[in-house]
């Protein structure tokens, strides 16, 4: 135990750390400039300074988490990152919601940390040091049972932070409560540090030793994807909706990671490198577009004071820049070409298809099913963002607040614009970026670099075994056609004079905001289709004057929060029940307290011989 404090702390300078450092810096820059405008007028001066202190500490702690090379120091940084983000979640400490969301967050994250500590202690016990290199060398001689245990602990620990279903419960509560620039950091970057943890500790240090590890991650990832996106579809709070999409996207990243672990175990190094690179690509892409979307949501909140999209609408006329930025983000997250989300999801699909081609029976089916899950997810995500964008920005305003919205300040627009441009850069510059990510991926997996080669030329992927995968050129042509048509239409229509008039109302008159398609109505088909999971129910309330005349009619529809109801509520109930039972030990009588001591002593005296 003596050498526990004999720390040799250094910094890692390998590809993986550099990749995460650049991701963190890339997102924190626009987040910082955005907060200039966002905080002004919303908070007092002292509060703004407090925010900056926490903000800087938060970024420093995240940077340390992804660079230190000692497990003990890693834990300290990890814990400070969690605590600082907790204080950021409860930044609006006057609101009851923030406090309760913060509590859920801090409890969940500490449960996760406990598992991480347990895993590290097992590793330390075996290796006798916390240094990454020593851990890596000694991990080879770890027994199979201990290895599996460490893997499971790491998966639960980091999975809690990443928001894998069913450990995602804190994510939709905590992310919306933080100020928006912080939400963008938390959702864009902080949960990615958990992915870093899984890559660093499971793949680099522990080494993938069983096939079922990858299978488990793949299954969990597929569930996260689908559950995340279905919950997002049901959500009408703009920031909560985005938070659920984080669950979904973490799932997509983990799909790449999990399938890479499977390939590694099946001895397909080329594909392993390829799919890990795809996962990493989606990681940075998600950081960019989710950061952008959270900033846009923050702008909407700043301008209107509400995050409920049922109360918004028509913002495209009042806030054109924000709307454009949100649209770009929505297109990117829905994986439409030519933006960045498309590239990484396409690469992940390729990984699955290639895998299904190169493996045998059972694995073929499994990989195809995972690919199907990913396909379903992207489709639903697109539907969700049609809802989010359409209801928030199009049509008529649904409330006075939305009617009086004004465009946000310059610094906020600049930050959104910066991230918007990045989505294009990462979409169109994929050839260069992917090449670099392949280098990182090779480095992580520790494979021989000579026989693994990729190039993405004209959207044609060439792998070492000379099989080529090409992006359907047709799609590209179609995109170009659409753009050309749009330009043509614009040129033709631009010549005509536009006439301002009300929307054609089919012979009805006086169509108002109440006649609009609402978010609830839009998501109804999905509520029906996924009713086996969402368990929707409704409440109706009629007040009648007479049998024929219903004076008011109230109709509410709900979905059952299935994880909270069937997993967390019974668990919490059990804990509280136990606590209530234990409280009977403490009835307030001094005599009883002393007699506890007395009985203990007597018992010790009587049974001393036995010990």
């Amino acid at each position: 135990m003596a050498n526990i404090f004999n720390l040799h702390v250094g910094f890692l300078r390998d590809g993986l750390s550099l990749f995460f450092v650049s991701t963190i810096l890339l997102i924190s820059l626009p987040s910082a400039t955005y907060s200039l405008g966002y905080l002004k007028g919303h908070y007092s001066k002292g509060k703004i300074i407090y925010n900056w202190v926490l903000f800087v500490l938060f970024i420093i702690s995240m940077l340390l988490v992804v660079t230190v090379n000692n497990a003990l120091v890693f834990l300290i940084c990890w814990e400070s990152m969690s605590l600082i983000s907790y204080f950021l979640v409860i930044f609006d400490e006057k609101s009851e919601k923030s406090i309760s969301a913060g509590t859920v967050y801090v409890v969940m994250t500490h449960i996760g940390t406990a598992f991480i500590i347990a895993a590290f202690l097992i590793l330390y016990n075996h290796a006798g040091s916390f240094d990454f290199n020593v851990l890596r060398i000694n991990a080879d001689t770890l027994s199979a049972g201990a290895r599996n245990l460490v893997f499971l602990f790491l998966l639960i620990g980091f999975g809690t932070k990443a928001g894998i279903v069913p450990l995602h419960i804190w994510l939709p509560l905590a992310h919306p409560q933080a100020p928006s620039h912080i939400s963008s950091l938390m959702s864009g970057v902080m949960i990615k540090t958990a992915i870093y943890g899984i890559i660093r500790f499971v793949i680099c240090i522990l080494g993938v030793s069983s096939l079922w590890w990858g299978n488990l991650i793949l299954v969990l990832a597929a569930i996260s994807c689908i559950v995340g996106v279905i919950c997002a579809l049901m959500e009408h709070d703009l920031k909560k909706l985005l938070a659920y999409h984080s669950v979904e996207n973490i799932g997509i990243i983990l799909l790449g990671l999990g399938v890479s672990m499977i390939f590694l175990k099946l001895n397909l190094p080329v594909l392993a490198v390829f799919s890990l690179a795809a996962g990493l690509y989606h990681l940075i892409n998600h950081a960019i577009f989710k950061g952008l979307l959270f900033l846009c949501a923050g702008s909407v909140y700043k301008a209107t004071g509400t995050r409920d999209i049922e109360k918004l609408g028509g913002l495209i006329k009042k806030m054109p820049y924000t709307s454009a930025a949100f649209l770009v983000g929505a297109v990117a997250i829905s994986a439409l070409p030519p933006l960045n989300g498309f590239v990484s999801e396409w690469l992940t699909f390729q990984a699955f298809f290639q895998g299904a081609l190169s493996t045998t029976a059972g694995m073929k089916v499994f990989l195809s099913l995972s690919a199907a899950a990913l396909a379903l997810t992207s489709g639903l995500a697109a539907a969700c963002f049609v809802k989010a964008f359409g209801v928030t920005f199009l049509a008529m305003p649904r409330s006075a607040k939305a009617r009086e919205a004004v465009e946000v300040s310059f610094s906020m627009k600049v930050s959104m614009c910066f991230l918007g441009i990045l989505t294009f850069v990462f979409g169109l510059g994929c050839v260069i970026i992917f090449k670099n990510l392949v280098v990182v991926s090779k480095n992580v997996l520790g494979l021989e670099t000579l026989n693994v080669n990729f190039s993405l030329n004209n959207f044609i992927l060439i792998t070492a075994n000379n099989s080529t995968v090409s992006l359907p050129a047709v799609a590209l042509v179609l995109v170009l056609c659409v753009i050309a048509t749009a330009i043509l239409l614009f040129v033709l229509a631009g010549a005509r004079k536009a006439r301002q008039y009300d929307t054609w109302d089919c012979g009805y008159y006086n169509l108002g905001a109440r006649n609009e398609y609402s978010a609830t109505a839009f998501s109804k088909p999905f509520r029906v289709a996924f009713s086996f999971f969402l368990l929707p129910y409704r409440k109706t309330e009629k007040i009648r004057e007479s049998f024929y005349h219903v004076k008011t009619f109230k109709y509410e529809t709900f979905t059952t929060p299935i994880f909270r109801k069937y997993i967390y509520a019974p668990l919490l109930g059990g804990i509280f029940g136990l606590a209530r039972f234990m409280r009977r030990l403490q009835p307030g009588s001094i005599h009883l307290y002393i007699s506890y001591i007395f009985i203990t002593i007597i018992a010790l005296i009587v049974f001393m011989k036995k010990f």
Binding site: G588, H591, I602, M608, K609
Partner: protein, 212 residues
């Protein structure tokens, strides 16, 4: 030889304290117990020829025989409560329990402690018994003052253990313990007085309002 007479007397006085029903009698019992403690200490000091033990003995006499009992008696008079101790267990059963405790400490000493000298083990059993009976008094008597006296009886037992087994503790420790005991008795006495003025009783089993 005198030692053993004194020790047996301490045990008998402790039994007496178990069966008394009134507060002044309990305080008197404590005074008497402390007096015999003083005598034991003096005889040990004489036997071992240690100057420090004499000083400690004088301190016992001043504090435990005169000051503390006087203070407790004063408080009992001042708060003018019912002199009854409020027994949770009647004297007959109490003395039975005390006898069982004596037997248990005897068993414990002979089965567990590695003494070769028979007299030493008897002494040990006796002191252990005094400590346990102090605890017993704390539990089965209602009035807050009895809790203080129970604590003091336990302290007497511990002191006796230290003197008979290890020829007393280091002098500085001894002095500081005396100071602690004295101050804690004063503080507890003041608390009892305040409790009485606030609640018009000092029955500990009624003080359960503050529980969570």
């Amino acid at each position: 030889m005198y030692n053993y007479i004194f020790l047996i007397s301490i045990l008998l006085i402790t039994y007496y304290m178990v069966i008394v029903k009134r507060l002044p009698a309990l305080v008197g019992g404590f005074r008497l117990q402390s007096l015999f403690l003083f005598l034991t200490t003096v005889s040990f000091a004489f036997e071992l020829k240690e100057a420090a033990l004499y000083i400690v003995a004088i301190l016992i006499f001043v504090l435990k025989v005169i000051l503390i009992p006087n203070f407790l008696a004063g408080i009992t008079k001042k708060i003018q409560v019912n002199e009854n101790l409020g027994l949770l267990l009647n004297p007959q059963l109490s003395i039975l329990v005390a006898l069982i405790l004596t037997y248990l400490s005897y068993l414990f000493t002979f089965n567990v402690m590695p003494f070769t000298d028979k007299m030493q083990s008897v002494t040990f059993a006796l002191t252990l018994c005094v400590i346990l009976i102090g605890l017993f008094i704390m539990i089965f008597r209602l009035k807050a003052i009895t809790q203080i006296i129970g604590l003091l009886v336990m302290e007497n037992g511990l002191f006796l253990l230290a003197v008979t087994m290890c020829r007393g503790m280091p002098f500085l420790v001894e002095i500081s313990i005396f100071l602690d005991v004295f101050i804690s008795v004063i503080i507890l006495g003041i608390f009892v007085y305040r409790i009485n003025t606030l609640f018009t009783h000092i029955d500990v089993n009624k003080l359960t309002n503050l529980r969570g």
